[in-house]
Symmetry: C2
Amino acid sequence: MDLSTVRTTSDGPIRVAVDAMGGDHAPLEIVTGTLSWARAHPADKVLLVGIPERISEVAGGPVPPNVEIVAASQVVEMDESPAHALKAKKDSSIMVAMDLLKQGRADALVTAGHSGAGMAAAVLKLGRLPGVDRPALAVQMITETGPFVLLDIGANMDSSGNNLYQFAQMGSLYAERVLGVANPRVALLSIGEEKGKGDQAVQQATQMLDENGTLNFVGNVEGRDLVKHMADVAVCDAMVGNVTMKFFEGLATFIFDLWKREFKRGIRGPIGYLFMRAGVNRIRDTFDYEKMGASPLLGVKGMVLITHGSAKRRMIEYALDAGATAGRARIPELIADALRGQPRRPGPVA
Amino acid sequence: MDLSTVRTTSDGPIRVAVDAMGGDHAPLEIVTGTLSWARAHPADKVLLVGIPERISEVAGGPVPPNVEIVAASQVVEMDESPAHALKAKKDSSIMVAMDLLKQGRADALVTAGHSGAGMAAAVLKLGRLPGVDRPALAVQMITETGPFVLLDIGANMDSSGNNLYQFAQMGSLYAERVLGVANPRVALLSIGEEKGKGDQAVQQATQMLDENGTLNFVGNVEGRDLVKHMADVAVCDAMVGNVTMKFFEGLATFIFDLWKREFKRGIRGPIGYLFMRAGVNRIRDTFDYEKMGASPLLGVKGMVLITHGSAKRRMIEYALDAGATAGRARIPELIADALRGQPRRPGPVA
């Protein structure tokens, strides 16, 4: 088994590679957030990857001593085809950053760039971990009592029961080691709580999880149970996960926009706001998705985290926190250990 | 082609069968809502199906002349297995009501009972419409500028591209004829706006919809686009649809509960509420899901509508409105006309 690309650092300084050029607000917001994080974490190191002149320009002065600028001459744009970008732009910031991870010069990588290109670059450059059939992209979702992990939200289409089973294991490790949840409750996201419900993949995964004694499998949860925090890890196909995550974003924004408008309406709205300001801030704080940081791509030989394309400096800092924690926890190694010699079943149940 | 069970009433009085015994609050809320609707629609007729003594008991007096009580001696409970219920309870209210539809004695059927049992009874008793491979359960979802139709939300698992294609046609007809949307924008719910994105079923359905000139196919929409009303009909697999619908319910409730708590907190909350009361009511009105009425089961030989298990009298009235409108529109006949002789492709695209 070749795990040479997975570092075994568990303590001590962590080295995070940041794709300075990826994202809607790159490089300004990425660089600003990264420098701020680096100043707050002087013992750790950041490798800022991109076009040096543009990074220096937005840095607006000398960078802290724990920041190293690594040159990359190209940029993958947000609307490029991943396949084309990876072929034509071998010296792009995302590809160079991925190389740093592969060479063991970084413990984690954070990008706000094109998520499809980031995932493709990770699979291409780093490869899958031994025992992992498919990587999965996970995201932290908000509930009142803390976040839960939802995966897969878009790494692969048409996942089998076996894939879901592996996602459950990877998600459980991430929840335990990065979010600090003891004995995470793992559930399959389905159309009913009863175990017989769901499509073929969910039914097969149910069987496999029932037979696996190591995870804290709590069965199926429904869409309405998610915000009730009935599971710490919710496992599903990418289509379900992606739609759910984006629907959350859309619906929460919609509802808050309605309130915003009411608090601005007429004379009564602004007066009401004066009285409700503390409450508004409490609710805003509950729904502060920037704190969710970044989405880990689980199952590849290296700790890659993809944050929101629209991330600004504050979210980049949270993304670096997530990257440093995940890098320190040696998530890829733990996944390889957990999935080595696991049962696997080809194809769907008849 | 046998469409003998599909009535051709387009004008004139409509006859709606109501399952008086199904639902968390049956029979009291079902009967109360139904009688109220019947009084408001004296030209139409209601067939109230259930245990006559229990119906009379909760009716609390003589029923209006346009209400006929039809006896059924059994009740399918909310937690029963549909297969068992349909075999063991042939004289249950849902089965007797389904018979009324089949015999042409009713134009539509409304139930708040066990949705799995309702769908199974419909398929068993009425059968699929000619040309329809699979029925789909649709729901109206809320946006600020009006509802859109989301389907399938749970009639079948593991739908193919061909199934999705048919769902698109059925959903479009429903949006046009029942919601009154001219030339409804039909979209596939997927993980990205680009047409190449999505799983195999979505990609196949995209091809078929691109080739079909009769629908107003607008491509893919993402989860975050739904509340922006970027489509009048959003088509997806049951797993995606069911999770999305229930997640809407869970998330909206969660957010409103947070606001409710803030408006009750300390001294400032209740004062803030006094100023915001009109705004709160406007928002509450936007999210008034009871107005959505009931979910049509599209693709069977008869107009069956399933409403929320927790529906109370007001929602039952809206459900009867939906049932009467859909019955009047002859949706099953329109679907049969539209799907007759349509292209069909077996299996997923390679």
